[in-house]
C-alpha cells in the first residue's frame, strides 16, 4: 500500500506521554496538515517517521517498509527544527552532498530556488541567520523529488515574502511532480487552503482526520438568545460555546438544520482555526 501507516505508536519522555497509542494512515498523493498545539506531539510523530526518534511501542511503515529500513529512508525526507549539517559547510556544498545522497536531488534546481530566496550559496551554514538556515533546509527539500516530504513548522522565522514564496514553490512542485506532503504547523490559517486533509493531534492522540473541505463545510457557528440556541443544539455535535452579553454562540460540527423564517438564530461559517481552537480547548477542559 502506498501510504504512511502508524499502528499504536507510543513514545514517553520520563513521565510525559508524547504519543499515546497513535494509529494513523496517510495515503500517498495528498497534502496533509498535521495540526496541533505546542507540545501536542507533532514533532515527535514526525521524528518517529523520519527515524530520528525511536518509539517505545507500536509500528510505523512507509509504503509497507518498516521505518528505519533503508527502503523507508529513501522514501521520506523530513525538514525539522534541528540542524544536522556541518556548520562550516557552504550552502553549495550542502547541495553537492544532497545530490550524492539522494538520487532525486536536482542541484541546478536547488541553485535556482536559492536565487529566488536570495540565499547566497557561498555562505557557510553557520553564518546564516535563523531565517536563512530555515530557507536553506527548505531549498534542499524543494529541490528533492521524493515520494514523501515532511515539514515540521517550515516557516518559523521566515518573513512574509519568503513564506509566500515557499507555499508557491511547494504547490508548484506538488502540482508538477505529485508526491505526498505533510505540513506540521500551528499556523493554521496560513496553510488552510493548501491542505487536502487535516489531522488534528492533541495530548499525543489523534483527535480527528478529515478532508479539509468537509471540515470547512461542516463547521459553523449559531448565535442567538440562549434558549433558542440550546433548543437548536439539542442532539447536535457542539464543540464549544461563547457568550457575548445576552447572546450565546455555539460552535457545531455537522449538517445545518433549516430554521423557520423569522427565527432569531444567525448562522456563520467557522474557520479551520476557530474549529481547531474550540476542539483543543474542550479537550483541555475534559482532561
Amino acid at each position: 500500500m502506498e501510504a504512511i501507516e502508524l499502528k499504536n505508536v507510543t513514545k514517553r519522555y520520563g513521565g510525559v506521554t508524547a504519543l499515546d497509542g497513535v494509529s494513523l494512515t496517510l495515503e500517498a498523493g495528498k497534502i496533509y496538515g498535521l495540526l496541533g498545539r505546542n507540545g501536542a506531539g507533532k514533532s515527535t510523530l514526525l521524528g518517529v517517521l523520519s527515524n530520528r526518534i525511536f518509539a517505545d511501542g507500536g509500528t510505523a511503515f512507509i509504503n509497507g517498509n518498516p521505518v528505519g529500513s533503508s527502503a523507508a529512508q529513501d522514501l521520506l525526507f523530513c525538514v525539522g527544527e534541528a540542524n544536522y549539517y556541518r556548520p562550516a559547510c557552504r550552502v553549495k556544498d550542502l547541495f553537492f552532498w544532497a545530490g550524492k545522497f539522494y538520487a532525486g536531488f536536482d542541484e541546478t534546481l536547488a541553485e535556482e530556488i536559492a536565487g529566488k530566496f536570495r540565499l547566497d550559496v557561498n555562505r557557510r551554514f553557520k553564518s546564516l541567520s535563523t531565517g536563512y538556515r530555515s530557507i536553506c533546509k527548505l531549498t534542499l527539500a524543494l529541490a528533492l523529488r521524493i515520494p514523501y516530504l515532511v515539514f515540521d513548522e517550515p516557516v518559523l522565522g521566515l518573513d512574509a515574502n519568503s513564506r509566500e514564496l515557499f507555499y508557491t514553490l511547494l504547490l508548484g512542485s506538488y502540482a508538477k511532480n505529485g508526491g505526498t506532503v505533510v505540513l506540521a504547523t500551528h499556523l493554521i490559517e496560513e496553510v488552510a487552503s493548501l491542505l487536502e486533509e487535516v489531522v488534528l493531534i492533541d495530548h499525543g492522540k489523534i483527535l480527528l482526520q478529515r478532508s479539509a473541505e468537509s471540515l470547512r463545510e461542516s463547521g459553523y457557528c449559531v448565535a442567538g438568545p440562549e434558549q433558542e440556541v440550546d433548543r437548536y443544539c439539542a442532539g447536535k455535535h457542539v464543540v464549544g460555546e461563547d457568550r457575548l452579553g445576552g447572546l450565546k454562540l455555539a460552535y457545531c460540527l455537522g449538517g445545518r438544520e433549516p430554521v423557520p423564517a423569522g427565527s432569531p438564530l444567525q448562522f456563520s461559517q467557522m474557520s479551520l482555526q476557530k474549529l481547531f481552537v474550540k476542539l483543543t480547548e474542550r479537550e483541555a477542559e475534559n482532561g
Binding site: I31, A175, S193, L194
Partner: protein
C-alpha cells in the same frame, strides 16, 4: 481573483464562480485557453485538487471543455449557458434574500415594489 476562505461557499465553488465571471464579462473569450490548474493553484495558494474540482464543475456545465493534452478551453456558447443558469438562479439568489430582509424590516411587498419602481424611474432620468 480573490477567494474568501470564510465564505459559506466551498472554495472549489468560489473558483468556479470567479472563472465563470471572467467568461461572462468577456475577460476570457469563448474559444480561448482557460488558466491551467497548476497556474491557478500556485497563484492563489490553493490545493491543486481543489482547483481542479472547481474547473470540473464548469466542464460539467458546458462552460469549459477539456482538450486532450492541451488543457481547458472556454466552450462555444459558454456565455449563453451562464446567462441561462443565472436567470434560473435569480429568484433564489437575489429575490428571496431581498424579501427576507424586507420582512425583518417590516416592509411589505408593496413597499419593495414601490422601491423597484422608483429605481426604474430614477434610472431613466
Amino acid at each position: 481573483m480573490q477567494l474568501d476562505l470564510l465564505s459559506e461557499k466551498p472554495i472549489f465553488q468560489q473558483i468556479a464562480g470567479q472563472i465563470e465571471d471572467a467568461v461572462f464579462t468577456g475577460g476570457l473569450a469563448e474559444g480561448s485557453r482557460a488558466p491551467s490548474t497548476n497556474e491557478l493553484a500556485a497563484l492563489l495558494g490553493i490545493n491543486p485538487h481543489t482547483v481542479l474540482k472547481g474547473m470540473n464543475l464548469l466542464v460539467e456545465e458546458g462552460i469549459l471543455e477539456k482538450k486532450r493534452g492541451m488543457g481547458m478551453y472556454v466552450a462555444q456558447g459558454a456565455v449563453e449557458a451562464i446567462r441561462r443558469k443565472r436567470q434560473a438562479q435569480f429568484y433564489r439568489q437575489y429575490v428571496r434574500p431581498l424579501l427576507e430582509e424586507a420582512a425583518k424590516l417590516n416592509m411589505s411587498r408593496a413597499d419593495v415594489a414601490a422601491l423597484l419602481e422608483k429605481e426604474e424611474k430614477h434610472g431613466s432620468d
